[in-house]
Amino acid sequence: MKWSIDISGTLSPLGILAAMMQKPNTIAYPAVKKETAVGYRGFHTNLLVDCIGCANCQDVCMNDAIDMIKTDKEYNVKNSSQCIPRIDYGRCCWCSLCTDVCPPDSLKLDEEYLGVTQYASDFLYMPKDK
């Protein structure tokens, strides 16, 4: 067991004591919120006035996360299928392919990303209309 006396190695860690005086790095989450980065891929939004129900998003989704379902809301007159996408967040991996292929650019990813629930069934998500 070899060891030698290392003065600087012994003393230099003491510098950390200065951290006592400094402001903590912590983001105290519920009170302080960090701004989401530009282009953050959060939850889906679908602007119904633009959506044409083309199901391109459903076709391109490799996780089979998107179902086109009948909607009873007010939809775009060009939406001949009368279906809008519903995302299964138990499948979605936020790859954003669906938004890339969306012809009218109605399907988008929002900055909101908080979703907590007790029940797996809550994960069938209807994109917000905005």
Binding site: M1, W3, P13, L14, I16, A19, Q22, K23, P24, T26
Partner: protein, 297 residues
Amino acid sequence: MIILDLALMLITAYFVGFIYYGLYRNITARFQRRIGPTIFQSFYDSIKFFGKKEAISHGWMFYLGPIIMATGAIMTLFFIPFFYQSESFSGLSGYGNLFLVLYLMLLGPLGNAMGVGVGGNPFGVMGVTRGLTRLFALELPFYIAVVAIMSISQSADIATIAGSQTTINAFAHPLLFIAALFSFVAMMGQSPFDVVGAPVEVYSGPASEFSGKFLSLLMSQSAIFSFAKLVLMVNLFLGGADGFFELLWKTFVLFLFVIAFGAIYGRFKTPQSVDFLIKVPTVIAIVGLIFATAWGN
């Protein structure tokens, strides 16, 4: 009357110990530039574990292991007087002495080692092995310092030692104090001598198999035992205390030093810590002993 005294000592040590541990977590968090938990966090943890609905047990010896450890800690506390003059808060110290306290401090770890051993968890046994290997090394400088202090005060009675210091021993015999401090850091399980618990390497060490109320009992005894050790150090080296305020600030200063020390340094391997402890602090202690006795005569 003595029962009441003992109960008060126990309650004081329990709450002060937990608040110190809360402060410990808070201050360590500040070193790491975090906010840290509330100072009652350790207390919450302890109560929560008492309230767990179940705890695994591996038979009666496993059940008794933490109980023996807690008994050892509480007995240590009872034989250390809080104040050197007062009748109250002196516990059973009139019936014991420093040698007894030194040995009582070892009783708990051995009892717990039985429980860990019977639990059959190899990680626990690994922790115990490391603990016992480190134990004798950390005791060596502490024993030399304590023996020197006993010889200087010509008594093995803790209250007498605490009361007989005109200049406090930490300043009168700084070498002894420094040597004892190294041991004390190790006794409190702080870095760089904290290889026993080492959750990253050995799965929590001795506590691997303890859950629920057993773990909680271990946490409680740790708080009580830490306070007892702090009071012992204050009595031996910092001139003892004459009132609660003095006791609290002295123990807290010592505690602050220990946690600051512990927060800074990395961890020694077991042979490294043994090697360090039987070289550096031991040599300091022996030099201190020679100085102390030479001046004493």
